[in-house]
Amino acid sequence: MSELSELYQQVILDHNKKPRNFRKLESANHSAEGFNPLCGDHLTVYLNLEDDAVKEISFEGSGCAISKAAASMMTQAVKGKSKEDAERLFSSFHEMVTSDSDEEQVAERLGNLKVFSGVREFPVRVKCATLPWHTMHAALNNEALVSTE
């Protein structure tokens, strides 16, 4: 069960139970919808982007513990960041959950998002963790819809 406890760490379970920034953002000027048709995960990411910086971010939708916690922690991680930094964080996160490289630099940049490193042992769950990030990326770039399959 050790890989399983790597995957379902307390932090992740906590964010699943009490997702942060889990609401519709009335002041949003960007949003996108993300689907994972394979498992039915579905979320909307709302952004208030000012001067190319993420002033506010929120999400709503339904999904598994991994996708919900990933979305919740993503909103905390990118709030206040520039568009460029948010995108860089996305690519670091993506690298962490899809490759075996344990680069110090990547880990450092990700901070507490490192709790998701266990996901890479579960290839079918990688899309759950990255769906919120793909959706945020779409919102940043004015794409309305993403689907991970």
Binding site: M1, E3, L4, L7, G40, D41, G63, C64, K68, V124
Partner: protein, 421 residues
């Protein structure tokens, strides 16, 4: 020692008289371990496992008989053709069709339904006509009809169901009218396990002269199917859900209807003669089988039918029924578990949700214990919407599953609840 062994074997027979341990020996895939645990395969509604005799039959074909069918005067081609057409004969007897030419080989139930949509629907259904399906169809029996409705300006009508997952037959009756041109319903729901009273529903449609297609994807392996007794006009099923390889399957159609229909795909094997001015189509069943088919898979379907005929299917069905009853009892007893689909007539499918725990998380944790279930919408998103859940976890049984496996499932679900508590 001998006495103990004897008492064990009597115990395993005592409930349904079905020797499941003997049967398990026929399925090599069941011998493996997953994540260090014995495989508990409970995803039979998605695809069932293949017994050794079916694997062997495929090998024999590939080693000794492989060639293209219907087109060679040489020895191997004749041998392959004989084996392929022999499989069709087996199918004919298996579903009690009048003639083997009524059994069209297709890639699976999905292709069978699409064949009827193209061959029958596009020819005989037009603007203002209506097609009736049910609220519990999976996408394979929704999307082709939607495509047809869009193309022709026809209308899709949907028979609703109650909270137990049973179709409302009065509503069905009210939907039938002179505009109805086809009824397409599932025999057994893949997401809920509901067994529909299709014989009665077919009779109701026939009062209006409406042909009926039955999606038999979930029924063919679990119950005896007699297309003449049902009097259905079409019956489609997949081989890979009844112990045969993927790529095998059948759509049965009454000969007089198949003859009126347009072909499905064009190509070799489905013609009598071709000139640039005109093509004359072949007779049944070849008219619907363009190109080289999945010969090895369809021969495998024939072998799977032989296998099913070699076991006591009534006892196997009773065993499956007992597994479903036992699993329903065990899972219902776990706090937070809710069974989705509680029809009075159910078959081998147990869909469930646990409080706030997403089925995908359930699936991953079960997999770590070697248990294979389906987690998701089961290609039946409207069913999920009807029950207001994004997805369910689904355990689906075959006759090679055991009560012990149900115990492992129940124990692991308790563990899931614990992790998320």
């Amino acid at each position: 020692m001998a006495t103990i062994e004897k008492s064990v074997s009597i115990e395993r027979l005592v409930n349904t008289g079905f020797d499941v341990e003997r049967i398990r020996e026929d399925f090599p895939v069941l011998r493996q371990t997953v994540n260090g645990k014995p495989l508990v395969y409970l995803d039979n509604a998605a695809s069932s496992q293949v017994p050794q005799v079916v694997i062997d039959r495929g090998s024999i074909y590939l080693e000794d008989e492989h060639s293209n069918i219907h087109r060679g005067v040489h020895y191997l081609s004749q041998k392959a053709t004989t084996a392929y057409e022999g499989a069709r004969e087996k199918v004919k007897r298996f579903i009690n069709a009048r003639e083997s030419r009524e059994c069209i080989f297709v890639r699976g139930a999905t292709e069978g339904i699409n064949l009827v949509m193209h061959g029958y629907g596009r020819k005989f259904i037009g603007a203002g006509d209506e097609i009736i399906i049910s609220a519990m169809e999976h996408h394979a029996n929704i999307v082709p009809w939607q495509m047809l409705c869009e193309e022709k300006g026809a209308r899709l009508r949907v028979i609703p169901m109650n909270d137990a997952g049973e179709l409302l037959l009065d509503e069905y009756d009210a939907l039938l009218n002179e505009r109805t041109k086809l009824v397409a319903i599932t025999h057994v729901s893949n997401a809920l396990g509901t067994v529909n009273p299709i014989k009665k529903m077919i009779d109701q449609a026939h009062k209006y002269g409406v042909p009926v297609l039955i999606d038999g994807a979930q029924s063919a392996s679990h119950m005896l199917v007699d297309v003449q007794d049902l009097n259905c006009d079409f019956y489609a099923f997949s081989g890979h859900k009844m112990f045969a390889p993927t790529g095998s399957g059948i759509v049965y159609g009454k000969a007089e209807i198949l003859e009126k229909m347009n072909p499905f795909q064009g190509g070799g094997d489905m013609i009598k003669s071709v000139t640039f001015e005109k093509t004359i189509y072949a007779d049944l069943p070849n008219k619907f089988e363009a190109g080289t088919p999945a010969i090895a898979s369809q021969i495998g379907l024939g072998a799977a039918i032989d296998y099913l005929n070699s076991i006591d299917r009534k006892k196997a069905a009773a065993h499956e029924h007992e597994l479903l009853r036992y699993a329903t009892e065990k899972l219902s007893a776990i706090e937070g578990v809710r069974i989705i689909g509680t029809a009075r007539e159910k078959l081998s499918v147990l869909s469930f949700v646990i409080d706030d725990i997403h089925p995908h998380d359930i699936g991953t944790i079960l997999d770590q214990e070697g248990i294979a279930v389906r987690a998701g919408h089961h290609c039946a998103q409207p069913v999920m919407q009807r029950f207001n859940v994004p997805a369910t976890a689904r355990a689906s049984f075959a006759f090679y599953n055991t009560k012990n496996e149900v115990d492992v499932l129940a124990r692991t679900i308790e563990k899931v609840v614990e992790i998320f508590s």
